[in-house]
Symmetry: D2
Subunit: 333 residues, 4 copies
């Protein structure tokens, strides 16, 4: 029975806690939070767990095997480092750290310590995203041309981060998982209408071979949109996470090009075939993720969203921040 | 009875021709096209018009009062110049010219000649866009924060232009009309997956006072989208041109900020009220536009979409092209 | 060159006229309408046709080969009879006649005269409906359980008919074509909120073997809906005629039943598989229909929507009228 | 502190239990269920409650103040009767009883006993439905013409009931609440494709003054639909319970009639104005309902969905069953 310590019991921590408790083979043995109000909530919801003020006390408890870090971004690195140094396995909320140097340090530390380091890129465990991954991996899309993602809604403005660090990790982790490729350059534009944190932003990414990515994130939109379009040579996919049914739609549409030397020009031909919405497993993504964490600990295997995946996403966020600070300059990665 | 010469009878010319002919007070008296096939089509559809190969002959015909230029972009300037010099009123398809220098020259020529120069920014005559204009002008949105427009579909790839010059003039002319403000800088990113013309592109625009614009245009998308979001201080609008009904939706949603010095921080409050879809007149935009052209000629008034509006849009397109050529650099306007 | 006489130039006649004129092998040679205003419109739009006040004169003209009857329902029978007796081929707007006796008489007359009698069940020539027909005919749906159709909108109230006779012929002709079966009983309920013509109505149809049909028609609805659901043993189809794309969606969903005697009860199992939206030809249905009419005349073959199809639909409408008059009583067919 | 006994811990009981426990002023003190598996679930989720096999033991417990009956329909009457006779307040799941005689008996018993009898018509406590009620009550719709409701999905087939008794109580309780009127006649048609319980059904209701109702319920539909249209003289409402946002839309559309004697006919004029989606409170309906139950007990006031409301719905269900058994005959109420 894996004994898990939960550090942070705010917005996301209770979901992590509930999922570990519903798993066979794991239980939340300790919860730490600085707020008395949140500790009281933890006592009500997790009656079997020790509830503490000190994260350190929870982390260093010898009965604890694994630590889930669900605190604000600024403390991710310190808490994860402490846990790894104490020989614990670690699950960290996204984004993994506030800088790529910190992410790199955690990756190395976990490897030296022989412990599992996993980042909570929840969408990579969502049935819809896994279904898209299968479709891409078996070549149905052919060469991929672009990945375009829109994640907009009203709120929730956050004091200690901007809209890119808040929302884009979802899109970037999905992109990282689906494309299996790293961008070579990033440019970002954004504006902060209130205070000094950007609340609308656009992120452009260049990969090799004319593959591009684009992410539009916005805290000030009248409606909620979560939509990703993946354009491929043979087919294209639209993933609409808010669709009531048929979130993933595959379009057998595309363009073919004939270069005919005799006419000295390029002929573009369109192909519009059927649309197809595949069925996929309807499990809660976080449940799949927690089970995967357990499995990786038991078998010693590398998580799908390991520290390196966390690092790759943080590197893009960091480049986006630099680009925004420098007027949208294209930043090499 | 205004005698109109139509130069170019390809995709859009027949629509312009039909609309002038259905107006009281105007008729298409001449059509010129280089293609025999298109001339044959003109003879069938416009039995009352002289059908010519030579544009010059049609333009210089003393019976002709006004010239509508519906040819490919590269010839807009020469044909419009010739018509203005011949003392005709001119309606030019969008984008008005291939460079801002040409656009500037036409504007000056029209003013010297005392002739009406109008650019075919059709959407500015659409009931939905006019309805949004009224809402903005009476202050319902308050200060405007952003204008975000998406115009994507499959095709139609064009040999002599890229996706920005092809599709973005729609968004930019709507933006110019609605905001009544000119951007101060532009940055664009795009990629050409086939040949050397960009087929996916993103255009970011900076105005004064933290107002921003963004346009996503794409010839390689699996579905057609024409959607514009305008975010304001008091309300926000979504304009979905493909919605079957209720294309314009006004959201009484927003954010208010309280700066309280005693707590040294900014408090963001959300406001989510009703949504409202105003009714508006359902006339064909091109019919409204052609009637407006006639009216301006008769009264000597300046068109809503005059040469200066055409020039403003061309300047942005030109800046976008320069930015794309220089790796997405922010270009001052 | 087939010489067509068009009787009636109101709402639908101009569409029929335009389509015959755009066909190789046919031309509208004569138009008859009682209204001077509509005759003036015919002269403008069909410059090559003789325009007459007298339908009889147009029908009896020896140069005329075929007659298209596009008048109000009450005159369909007389005009079609006159045309068949004059040896002409006949295309009649839907519903074919105001009674099944009239429809039966026309069918017999056409057979005796050896002339083509076709009813304008336009939707049977629509790419979406033909695509569904193919899917059903190759057995993809298995046994069909129900056909449910909704056709509602605001207006257009008509003085001489009710909402069932106005709108339901569309649904009933689609149903007749797709199912290839005739109902054995009908019951209808409706209400007339203004005057004495029902403006909201519901029609229930029983076929053999537990197949049922239902049609909801409404002139007083706030939005326009045209949606048909066909539930089958193996798959189900939704046909949404107002969808911008993917009007036909096939759902691989269903129920399977296991009767297990040992547990003395029926076990229902659900199956939810993929959704699939087939591509189909995007031609104007009326163009396909007019071409088919020509083809049938040339080859002597029986039209897809022949007089018998018209008769079958009129029989259902008649039964519905009787049922409504008798408080919704189930009327045998 | 109100002590609640929960009878039945299957699908809906746990929701009722959770909501009572989250209320100040109430707690679930006892749970009874015949199944050991469900009792085990109750022990896990409601650690403070006595968990029993015998409903009678729970009901007769003198510490218990109120009983919530969440068992299959067939036992509602007996359990509610026993509870009322024991002097308890009672909340019964919908439909209230299997016959109107039983419902009538419970109403009378509750009145004699001076106890609160409430039926769980959950939707009447939903923010969207309450918002519609306000709009209707202040006269925005004018005279109401029709109430049309569609509630279809795949499954869940039930062994002991048909689709009307399973799904239509939702629509009928909403209708009863919103219209404040009782139908005078009902006719229903349905078919049972598997076994002997109808799985697709249509219910037509006549009220006074040409008001009608219609409910389409279906267990065998490929998609889930929950949509109600209410057509009024001045405005119309669409309530789409599955819409992600803006579930309630009010259309300023309608028809006006001018009877002009001089022209001996009725002129229908259409009016199409704005659409408006009002905001409303976003509380869980069941929480509002449980709080209302408590409030009624405390103040002795009559619940919104009292026994008479339950009786009215059961009378319609009963009439529908009779009509279906008699081939769709119109049954007086």
């Amino acid at each position: 029975m894996l004994q898990v310590a939960l550090i942070g019991y705010g917005y996301w921590g209770p979901n992590i806690g509930r999922n570990f408790n519903e798993l066979e083979g794991a239980r939340v043995a300790a919860v730490a939070d600085l707020s008395e109000e949140r500790r009281a909530a933890a006592r009500r919801k997790l009656p079997g767990a020790r509830v503490l003020e000190s994260a350190e006390e929870a982390i260093r408890d010898p009965e604890i095997d694994a630590v889930a870090v669900c605190t604000p971004l600024s403390s991710h690195y310190e808490l994860a480092r402490m846990a790894l140094e104490a020989g614990k396995h670690v699950l960290v909320e996204k984004p993994m750290t506030a800088s790529s140097a910190e992410a790199q340090a955690l990756v190395e530390l976990a490897e030296r310590a022989g412990r599992v380091l996993m980042v909570d890129h929840t969408f990579c465990y969502h049935g819809a995203v896994r279904c898209i991954k299968k479709i891409i991996d078996r070549g149905d899309l052919g060469r991929i041309y672009y990945f375009d993602s829109v994640r907009i809604n009203l709120g929730a403005f956050q004091a200690d981060t901007n809209v890119i660090w808040d929302l884009a990790p979802h899109d970037l982790s999905i992109m990282d998982y689906l494309l299996g490729a790293e961008p070579v350059a990033a440019a970002a534009h954004g504006v902060s209408h209130f205070g000094d944190r950007e609340n609308v932003a656009y992120l452009y990414l260049e990969f090799k071979d004319k593959l591009i990515g684009h992410v539009h994130v916005n805290w000030l939109a009248p409606v909620k949109v979560r939509q990703t379009i993946i354009g491929g040579e043979k087919r294209m996919i639209i993933y609409d996470d808010l669709a009531y049914e048929d979130k993933v739609r595959v379009y057998d549409k595309g363009v073919s090009v004939e270069s005919r030397e005799d006419v000295y020009k390029t002929l573009i031909k369109y192909r519009t075939g059927d649309m197809w919405a595949p069925q996929y497993e309807q499990q809660e993504a976080l449940a799949v993720e927690c089970r995967h964490f357990l499995e990786c600990i038991r078998t010693g295997s590398r998580p799908l969203t390991d520290g390196r995946a966390g690092l790759r996403v943080v590197k893009i966020l960091e480049a986006a921040a630099r680009s925004m600070a420098e007027g949208g300059r294209m930043v090499k990665l």
